[in-house]
């Protein structure tokens, strides 16, 4: 099968084209660097099926970040039959810069001018024929989003893939032509593939090339010496200038621009407000708060908080009452996210009752009924009931991502971030961490600096992901239900912010101790704003939903069954009360470890459930909640007057009553789960994205940070004056680090 690679600048629509070609639904977003790995699919739009490879976006074939290296290596080593170079027609000059480099390789190239519909709307025109004549390769106008011109493109690519093409360079007219010719011939003699390409890169002094061809580099050095004064010895500038010079020369003929009015476009207007000098950062915080408020607020309009208005509805019909309570409660009008949560809880309760009466009517053995109700269903429904709410949060995040605001956040926050030792660019993978740590960790490939990459990977789990969100929602909801005056959604927001603050703080500490160095440069394209595409939002949501369902019915259900078994059987395989179970013995054995954090030995005979929940969270963070749900009924059975809440926050409230855990300790428990080792999947990904041998430090970092922070949180919340002791310790630590750094930077000892 013929293989076609899609190459082009970041955010030029490669993935949209990939989806249009292959009919798949890969993730697209409006910021540079969404795709960080190659991705293969099959295109059946032409006469013959062809393999299509979507590559990460690149500005140039001189790699700057790891994900650009992936694209370059693929193009050079895997020898695709044809390269489709996608060029954003609204930004042609910079896009053609890459084209001039692709043309130097010995591979057929087809240029796809994308977004020509946007160009037309602006009143501009691109002349594909003139461009094709200037570049010497076919040029096809397309709109990947509207799927226009795709068939022509497939045909052109198919035709081109049948042919051979030798590289051509726009530098043929430049003063370097001789040098490049000489090296090309030398390399071709050695049988090197793409000799022209390598020759040009050598002349540019490209790092990987210089290492690979030291002999030819000598020719370059000799040439440089010979005519050092000719162009001030500045080859890099010379070659880049020559490329852009060639582009401007031929570009003006190919694209006609209508007279641009000096009026501000809608994008400019939005930008003026969103990145305002004074209001930029407050607006960002407000947007973030709105995000969480819409998802977690019981009291959306603050009716209860301000006017003490509540809605206690009693119609006498219990089913109707609980249905109305989905939307209103004594706490006020619920936010959309909470309504979704309540609705799902409503459905889960009905389904749970149905299942329970089903197995009971069938006359199954007691233990089997327990297994179904308190094992499988409790565990799964614990996760299921949170799905709509988390999906809603995810939808809001996707809107931010699609609109182009994410890149602006990096722009706004760069200065503040730099103080702590990160560039604003690192904030994009971190924000992705609100969804899932796994893609977030992979996205750190867009960061150029290795230290920055390691640090970002380490703190990404501190950005509470969709699997940890239920822990926050359940715990904060339960606390709010138990203690009047505590607002659940403010508490959730505070915990989210706390995670972010810990990320920034630990980065600052690492910068002062183990990860010293300069902050990485910040050079980034800012995409124009556009309205989020409904289709792509739906695709995001659908994927997330699939992901959740898959997880609920594999990892979570398996863990729930195991937990149920361990908590209902004793060491000699007899069914027993939970206090004699295997799980109790294991939990009680390690319970004391958590004493400093408030959920250890002081909790008495049921306190071990929190330790167990935290440990099961290492497999998948949803397990923390499903463990609560599985264990709550078993513990409830031992307590008189037990309120068996099947869904929602009921089980957590029940566990609070059974163990007598304080809200301070419950917060510490949540903090511990937020900051500790993430789930297996995330930990494995971080391991893959960071240099070899460093991962044990990362593990140690997670354990230490979570343990110490949770302890500090528990102490300060319980006895406020301990804050002074902790501050003193922190000051001592800071002083020690500062002194040590000074001693090191002055080796003479003066």
């Amino acid at each position: 099968m013929l293989r076609i690679a899609l190459a082009g600048n970041p955010n030029s629509g490669k993935t949209t084209l990939f989806n249009a070609l292959t009919g798949s639904t890969a993730h697209v977003g409006n910021w540079p660097g969404v795709t960080v790995d190659k991705r293969e699919g099959v295109c059946k739009k032409g006469s013959v099926p062809m393999a299509v490879v979507d590559l990460p976006g690149i500005y140039s074939l001189s790699p700057y970040t790891p994900e650009e290296m992936i694209a370059r290596n693929f193009l050079l080593e895997e020898k695709p039959d044809c390269v489709i170079n996608i060029a954003d027609a609204t930004n042609l000059e910079r896009n053609l810069y890459l084209t001039t480099q692709l043309l130097e390789m010995d591979v057929p190239v087809v240029v796809a001018l994308n977004m020509t519909d946007v160009l037309q709307k602006r009143g501009d025109k691109a002349d594909a024929e003139k461009l094709s004549a200037a570049l010497g390769v076919p040029v096809v106008c397309i709109s990947a989003l509207k799927e226009e011109g795709i068939r022509d493109l497939v045909q052109a690519a198919y035709k081109a893939a049948q042919t051979k093409r030798a590289g051509t360079s726009v530098l043929a007219q430049s003063p370097l032509a001789h040098l490049i010719d000489d090296i090309t011939i030398a390399l071709r003699g050695k049988g090197v593939a793409h000799p022209l390409f390598h020759a040009v890169k050598l002349a540019e002094g490209d790092e990987p090339e210089v290492k690979a061809h030291p002999q030819e580099m000598q020719t370059v050095e000799a040439f440089k010496k010979k005519c050092a004064d000719g162009f001030e010895g500045d080859y890099e500038a010379l070659i880049a200038d020559a490329r852009y010079g060639y582009i401007t020369q031929h570009f003006s003929a190919a694209v006609s621009r209508s007279e641009r009015s000096e009026k501000l476009s809608a994008s400019d207007k939005a930008d003026r407000i969103l990145t305002h000098r004074v209001w930029g950062i407050p607006i960002f915080l407000v947007i973030l708060f709105a995000l969480f408020h819409l998802t977690f607020a019981e009291d959306l309009f603050y009716l209860n908080a301000i006017f003490k208005i509540g809605f206690d509805v009693e119609t006498g019909n219990s089913v109707l009452d609980s249905f109305v309570a989905v939307f209103f409660s004594s706490a006020g009008v619920a936010a959309p996210g909470v309504i979704l949560f309540n609705l799902m809880g409503f459905v889960c309760t009905l389904a749970g009752n149905g299942i329970a009466s089903g197995v009971s009517a069938a006359g199954a053995a007691d233990w089997a009924q327990g297994l179904v109700n308190d094992g499988i269903w409790a565990g799964v429904s614990g996760v299921l009931s949170f799905i709509p709410q988390i999906l809603f949060l995810f939808l809001l995040l996707s809107i931010l991502e699609d609109s182009g605001y994410m890149a602006r956040v990096a722009f706004i926050l760069d200065r503040a971030f730099r103080k702590f030792g990160l560039s604003g660019r690192a904030f994009i993978p971190m924000i992705m961490g609100f969804g899932c740590s796994v893609p977030a960790a992979i996205n750190t490939r867009t960061l150029a600096d290795e230290k920055e990459r390691i640090m970002t990977n380490r703190v990404i789990p501190f950005f509470t992901c969709g699997a940890k969100a239920p822990i926050l929602a359940a715990v904060c909801g339960a606390i709010a239900a138990q203690y009047a005056g505590i607002n659940a959604d403010l508490l959730v927001f505070a915990l989210y912010l706390f995670g972010m603050a810990m990320a920034v703080l630990t980065v600052a500490i690492m910068r002062q101790t183990t990860m010293k160095g300069e902050v990485a440069p910040f050079i980034m394209e800012l995409p124009s704003y556009h309205l989020p595409q409904l289709r792509s939002l739906m695709v995001h949501l659908w994927d997330k939903l699939k992901h959740y369902i898959k997880k609920a019915f594999t990892v979570i259900v398996a863990s729930s069954v195991v937990i149920w078994f361990l908590s209902n059987f004793s060491w000699n395989w007899q069914m027993t009360e939970i206090q004699n179970s295997i799980l109790h013995d294991i939990g009680a054995f390690v319970q004391w470890l958590c004493t400093p954090m408030g959920f250890g030995s002081q909790l008495g005979k049921f306190g071990w459930v929190f330790v167990v929940a935290a440990v099961t969270g290492l497999i998948a963070k949803e397990n923390v909640i499903s463990t609560f749900y599985v264990l709550a009924p078993a513990i409830g059975a031992l307590i008189p007057g037990w309120d068996d809440g099947e869904s929602g926050i009921g089980p957590v409230v029940a566990l609070m009553q059974a163990t007598g855990i304080t809200w301070q300790a419950l917060i510490a428990f949540t903090v511990f789960n937020m900051l500790t080792i993430p789930c297996f999947a995330a930990a494995a990904t971080v391991r893959g994205e960071t240099p070899k041998g460093k991962f044990r430090y990362t593990l140690a970092f997670w354990m230490l940070t979570s343990y110490l922070t949770a302890t500090a949180v528990y102490l300060v919340l319980t006895w406020w004056w301990t804050v002074f002791i902790l501050l003193l310790l922190a000051a001592l630590f800071a002083a020690y680090v500062a002194l040590r750094n000074r001693a090191k930077s002055c080796p003479c000892g003066r």
Binding site: H27, G363, A365, A368, V372, V438, T554, T685, G688
Partner: protein, 62 residues
Amino acid sequence: MQFLLLSATGTIVTVVIAVLAVGLVAFGIGYQIWCKKKGKSSCGCDCSSCGGCCHSHKKEKK
């Protein structure tokens, strides 16, 4: 034995539940191993929302 006290349907349902539970656990564990072998992310997604994490990125690393 508790089994002997159950009706015929009860016995069948009980056995089915037991098999189902064991099967689910086996499947859950097997799925994780399968993901690992395939180089997929065991976050359980072959979704597009993970920016390509499921496209055997492990092999890419040298």
